[in-house]
Symmetry: C2
Subunit: 182 residues, 2 copies
Amino acid sequence: MPTPLQYALIGMVIAEPRSGYALRKVFETSPIGRFSSSPGSIYPALQKLVGSKLLQKKSSDRSRGKQLYHATNAGRDALEAWVTGSVSLEEVAKDIDLVLLRFAFHEALDDGQSTIDFLQSFVTAVRNHLANLKLFMTQPDGQSLSLHGQLAMENGIAGYEAQLSWAERAITRFSKQGQSND
Amino acid sequence: MPTPLQYALIGMVIAEPRSGYALRKVFETSPIGRFSSSPGSIYPALQKLVGSKLLQKKSSDRSRGKQLYHATNAGRDALEAWVTGSVSLEEVAKDIDLVLLRFAFHEALDDGQSTIDFLQSFVTAVRNHLANLKLFMTQPDGQSLSLHGQLAMENGIAGYEAQLSWAERAITRFSKQGQSND
DNA sequence: CCAACCATGTAAGCTGTTACATGATTGA
DNA sequence: TCAATCATGTAACAGCTTACATGGTTGG
């Protein structure tokens, strides 16, 4: 199973076939911050993807030296399976940035409904996680939290509430877009 | 230099000396999610901390078998240096959860002013990062973002804005607490 | 008595980091 | 021509995950 970095690489070459160097530049210049642009991470990851037949290296027509990576059908399928999987409570609690990455790569799919389904499962998971956080805050074995602890919990809660409003706004935006396609 | 996990362990045994097992239980039951509670991560980390003299293993008075970890003075100093370091733009962009962890362990310090200083450097870093994000969103080489890309950016911006309001609220709370001590 | 939990560890494997290394091309 | 950038890789190392392994204690 590919790593998040590998999925990100597949998604990027689906959007536009690129060289390893070009992929590194994207990580370097975008403010995403999740992935390192170091050659020691990118090139081995690309080699593994070629080895597992999810990517292919092709020379582009002109400028003969240029080797660009393209996604195979298997690569597209793997990405689709990954991005459309429903959002679990654990994923929200442990790695919410990954959920956002999956959301972003719904763009590589042509289906509009899958984005809405995804966002709805996200909303459910965030709501459940928020309930857990609030429960934890009110009864941590009767121990009352210090000011630091209380504020750290409030930070988490405020963050997830922001995620919730964002997701609800996003669902509205995608629903509107869907309607205009009817 | 200790890893984030190692700093977390130091902070936890400063709050209260604990066994390795007890430390694992905290990770298992708290909704933090950043650290795994697997023995394969905790025990080696504790061994390294003892090796670098930041922690010590002591048997508690009664119940002779019980081995509890305590922080050494060097451990306390290392945690303090880590926790009080000012927040950089890179840290905010790459690992904001780590900033929150550092915030939380200000509790282990007795100084109230250091928390406020920390939060102020956090506010500055988040403001700068927000400016970068907004700049990136308006001019990504003239390319207009897709709906997915635009929403992903909005998600990031909304998240950091939530961090900003939280930090400002937190500064107010700590300032009030400081005044009541005068 | 037996399941559940307390309690601690090791080993293999995978990923990613840092650092090193190489060579081509391009613009001032 | 010389610095910067393009472009691709490898090697050593650190850290974590999963899985395995062991044995003690406690409560029903």
